[in-house]
């Protein structure tokens, strides 16, 4: 069944008739990242106005793979359970070279974690759930559709925005301006910020089709990836399942193709039939892309903050675009809330430090995958073929095959907010079962002390104490002695051998930018 793109209502904004009181935060763009940003800030008690030039969710499925860490963040934002219930969790992946299966792997569910390694769910559902979730915060989130931001000026203590609506233009003031306008970011262009990186010459065709039954050998959702399949010589192809019996097909088209003629039913339908055979199908969405990896040098420019695709773009292999953007939100939300509540504004520099690093890591990974998938010379093709041949027998060579490495949270070790050199410091929390529920549900966007042994810590202002239930699983991962200080974004920022309120206070001061 085709998704119903019901338009969201436009409401005449108050600023058209009278000056609006200054908003603490204006978020420009209601894609997944802008929406998640507003919900995260609302969770920290911060009000925002969200402005979007459009009034429907993402047209086409676009981002479909949501990784475990992203789902955990969405859990805190209140949409994780809904995404998990609707999303497809695939178990078996198969890799083909020509017409041979090189190997298959079982992605067994990991015991003891609330969320699987990832799910497939169309971006339009994610945006719909997020829009619906914003309605739970009527006092904190003011979401305005058909409000296009056409200009902004940073006045040092606030930013002035000019906004175009169906009823004409108006202006408003905001303490901070968050650019979440996607890859084409008008804010970035207006500020003439360099956005440099690598553009890949290859074109890719992305198609969604609705099928009456599974094209795989079983009804279970699988993921099939081909290098040089017989139905698409010399190129790569990918097939996986989304909810509502929609299947995503990615086809590499090579550099010398004309995107306009490729994205036509005449060209696309035979390509689909070559993959799925003679089954009847409905074409749901198609698009031809050329991919780019690029980022801003800095994500923080005075009172203008960049998140999501406005700040960085990656090729989709490894699903790091949307997933990376959600980690920007996770990192920025509590810091901006702290700054608006009196913490030094320099705390925002750590957003820049940590997320430019994360985004560079995402770019490195997706560029490597794209390079593996699109060999640029005969020798690169030769090495890739031999890797695929060896992989039929030798596990080491399977690890060299790169059709995308799924997004993992990056380590923040050694950066300004972290204390000490315990090897876990900087890592994001690994989920564990609690007596009831899950560890990731206990952090609730607040500084938390995760205690591993029975030592007694005195009551602490601002910090919740969560004892980790003892189990082989928790001991193997976290050890069984001492305590970890966890940031509101679930990253470990300090370790203590034994109760030490002085050391804890120092680590907390450091993690909140009060003492570096």
């Amino acid at each position: 069944m085709a998704y119903d793109y019901a338009p969201f209502p436009y409401v005449v904004p108050p600023g058209l008739t009278a000056t609006e009181p200054r908003h603490p935060v204006a978020i420009v763009g209601a894609g997944p990242i802008g929406l998640a940003m507003a919900i995260d800030l609302a969770g920290h008690g911060i009000k925002s106005v969200v402005l979007d030039d459009n009034n429907v969710v993402s047209v086409g499925s676009r981002a479909i793979c949501w990784a475990k860490r992203t789902l955990e963040i969405f859990d805190r934002l209140g949409v994780g359970d809904r995404m998990l219930a609707k999303g497809v969790t695939w178990k078996v992946g198969r890799l083909f070279h020509g017409s041979n299966e090189v190997y298959s792997f079982d992605l067994l569910p990991e015991d003891g974690h609330k969320y699987p390694a990832f799910i497939n769910l169309q971006q339009y559902y994610v945006e719909q759930y997020l829009v619906e979730r914003t309605r739970d915060f009527p006092d904190h989130i003011d979401l305005r559709f058909l409000n296009k931001v056409t200009d902004h000026r940073d006045h040092g203590d606030h930013v002035m925005l000019t906004i175009e609506t169906p009823d004409g233009p108006y202006t408003l003031e905001a303490g901070y301006y968050i650019a979440a306008e996607g890859a084409g970011s008008p804010t970035r262009n207006r500020m003439k910020l360099p956005f440099e990186g690598q553009t890949f010459e290859e074109h890719f065709l992305i198609v969604d089709v609705e099928l009456p039954h599974s094209p795989f050998s079983t009804e279970d959702p699988e993921r099939w990836f081909w290098f040089a399949p017989p139905f698409h010589p010399g190129q790569s192809a990918l097939l996986h399942k989304q909810p509502d019996n929609i299947y995503r097909i990615d086809l590499q088209l090579g550099p010398d193709t004309d995107p306009k003629t490729e994205a036509t039913e005449e060209k696309v339908i035979p390509r689909i039939k070559a993959i799925i055979g003679d089954m009847a199908f409905r074409l749901d969405w198609m698009s031809v892309y050329k991919f780019r990896c690029a980022k801003l040098d800095r994500f923080v420019h005075g009172r203008v903050l960049f998140v999501g695709d406005s700040a960085h773009v990656v090729s989709p292999f490894g699903a790091r675009g949307g997933n990376g953007g959600i980690q920007d939100v996770d990192n920025l939300g509590w810091k901006l809330a702290a700054v608006l509540n009196g913490a030094p504004a320099t705390l925002l520099d750590s957003y820049d430090e940590e997320r430019t690093h994360g985004s560079a890591e995402n770019i490195l990974n997706s560029a490597r995958a794209t390079n593996f998938m699109t060999p640029k010379s005969e020798i690169e093709t030769l090495f890739r073929n031999e890797t695929l041949i060896l992989a039929g027998k030798h596990p080491f060579a399977r690890k060299l095959i790169n059709s995308g490495r799924l997004s993992q949270p990056c380590s923040l070790a050694g950066m300004a907010l972290q204390s000490g050199d315990h090897p876990m410091v900087g890592q994001s929390l690994t989920d564990m079962p609690m007596e009831t529920g899950w560890l990731i549900e206990r952090i609730k966007g607040q500084f938390t002390l995760l205690t591993l042994d029975d030592s007694v810590w005195p009551d602490l202002d601002d910090i919740r104490i969560v004892p980790l239930p003892k189990s082989d699983q928790s001991a193997a991962h976290y050890g069984s002695k001492g305590a970890f200080l966890i940031r509101p974004d679930d990253h470990i920022c300090a370790y203590f051998n034994a109760p030490d309120t002085g050391a804890l206070a120092a680590a907390l001061a450091r993690a909140t930018g009060r003492n570096q």
């Binding site: 020798i379 031999e386 030798h394």
Partner: protein, 64 residues
């Protein structure tokens, strides 16, 4: 960098085996075999730093 000799008295035997393994192959097939061998040997070395140094060393000597 000067690479340490690790083949000792087996140098001649090992070199001969390398020639023999290409016996009867077209140039194209030999290239494929070489690529395969490099991948296998890389895994056997198993040390990214060392591999990087060896790759750089190979590239640093002028090519024809």
């Amino acid at each position: 960098m000067i690479l340490e000799d690790k083949l000792g008295t087996e140098s001649d035997a090992v070199y001969t085996m390398l020639m023999n393994v290409h016996d009867g192959l077209s140039l194209e097939a030999s290239h494929a075999l070489n690529a395969r061998l490099i991948l296998i040997l890389m895994n056997e070395i198993g040390d990214a730093e060392k591999i990087t140094a060896l790759l750089e060393e190979a590239r640093s000597i002028p090519l024809g």
